[in-house]
């Protein structure tokens, strides 16, 4: 029965992806993509990767959708309608064949995976005790492969700097305009009621992330979504990007991470290794700081380049 379910899910995913790629309607493609993200979240749950399912549902189904919808609305304002609708793709046969070949080759690779599958799960579980954590994925992210996570934070910040630097010169350091011209009444209600739940869920995610599926990325994404909702409804304006406090928050997570990393050189075995006795409190502390900085970075990435000149 579960195999039937998986087949149905996979068929749904592929059909939806095809629809997204070939449909003419730009907004329909984005909505299809949001639905695709939701379905993919279920798919990850079927692959027994609940941590990934949480991330995919939050980012694929939530933030990316909002990013694309915003971009679509913006482009619709910038571009004359006649420049927008330009016939269908002219050549599709050769690309279709080429893409099909790539997919087939990749499929052959998938079928040719070695039969007793290699796995690092035994090592991960064996080393779990030294970290005091219960969730092996969190342990990989913040202990064994902490350097990856650290670099990823830096990539996020770099992407944000890249996005900001695409603003007009006059608007550098200003804030993004998120508030639509007309705010429907229910949106304001939603923005008042939903964020408390979102913050609660985010705190819960960080809290259980040490031992059960969940963690900083998921919590940060939820917080970012809630912050965006509040700014969208006009309850709070988007913060000016030159604000010191904002920048300190964004840089705080990675900075603390690096600091703890160098502390590891002094008191433990090397860069980013934690003294065993306080490994868990350290990791939870890093997680809390990282959550805030991820939330801020993701929300500002969605908000896009500033387009209002700074006040001062």
């Amino acid at each position: 029965m579960s195999l039937v379910f998986d087949i149905a899910l996979v068929a749904g995913l592929i059909a939806l992806a095809l629809h997204v790629v070939v449909t003419r309607d730009g907004r329909g493609a984005i909505l299809g993509f949001i639905a695709f993200g939701l379905l993919l979240g279920i798919g990850w749950a079927r692959l027994a990767s609940v941590d990934v399912a949480l991330t995919e549902a939050a980012i694929g189904g939530g933030l990316t959708g909002m990013l694309l919808l915003r971009a679509h609305a913006h482009l619709g304002r910038e571009i004359a309608p006649e420049a927008m609708a330009r016939g269908e793709p002219r050549r599709w046969l050769a690309p279709a064949i080429a893409s099909g070949l790539v997919a087939l080759a990749l499929g052959a690779v998938v079928l040719a995976f070695p039969r007793p599958a290699p796995s690092l799960a035994p090592q991960a579980v064996a080393a779990l005790e030294t970290t005091g954590l219960g969730n092996p994925v969190t342990a990989v992210l913040l202990a064994y492969r902490a350097i990856d996570t650290l670099l990823e934070k830096i990539v996020l910040i770099l992407a944000l700097v890249g996005v900001w630097s695409l603003s007009r010169d006059a608007a550098w350091g200003g804030a993004s305009q998120l508030r639509p011209a007309v705010i429907p009444e229910p949106l304001v209600f939603l923005a008042r009621v939903l964020p408390p739940f979102g913050v609660l869920i985010a705190v819960y995610q960080v809290w259980v992330g040490a031992d059960l599926p969940g963690g900083t990325f998921q919590a940060g994404t939820i917080l970012a979504a809630m912050a965006l909702l509040v700014m969208l409804a006009g309850l709070r304006p988007a913060p000016p990007t030159q604000a010191r406090a904002l920048r300190a928050m964004l840089a705080g997570g990675p900075a603390l991470f690096v600091l703890v990393g160098f502390l590891g050189v002094a008191v433990a075995q090397g860069f980013l290794s934690y003294p065993e006795a306080i490994a868990k409190p350290l990791i939870v502390g890093i997680e809390a700081a990282l959550t805030l900085s991820i939330a801020g970075t993701l929300a500002l990435l969605v908000a896009g380049p500033p387009d209002k000149a700074p006040a001062s």
Binding site: I14, G43, H72, S119, V125
Partner: protein, 116 residues
């Protein structure tokens, strides 16, 4: 690790392969750059799914899957989102400068982003 779980992992791996093909097709054929960015995301989702199949096959020690690929996929999803946001910002700038969301037919169209 039962045969059923192995089959299901391969199934999702094949789905990932198909998604890579579909995303690639979308990137190559759509003149609209926003649609290309969506195609890029579908391609990425496919690659992550192939990786998910690897993780699922590595189930051992009572875990549902190998935690190392899972953690890498989580990192990957977040980085792909950052890349998407940067691409969207570039596109918005392009649109306000040229009034068009496509590369002109006269100039050979390079992909919006070939790595990341």
């Amino acid at each position: 690790m039962s045969a059923l779980a192995l089959t299901s992992a391969s199934l999702f791996g094949l789905c990932g392969a198909a998604l890579v093909g579909i995303g690639l097709f979308g990137i190559v054929t759509n003149p609209d750059l926003l649609r290309r960015i969506i195609g890029f995301n579908i391609l990425g989702a496919g690659i992550f799914l192939v990786f998910g199949a690897v993780a699922r096959r590595g189930a051992a020690m009572g875990l549902g899957g190998d935690p190392v690929p899972q953690a890498m996929v989580i990192t990957g999803i977040v980085v792909a989102f950052a890349a998407t946001a940067l691409a969207v910002a570039l596109l918005r700038r392009l649109a306000s400068l040229t009034g068009s969301a496509t590369f002109d037919a006269a100039t050979p169209a390079p992909p919006p982003r070939s790595d990341a």
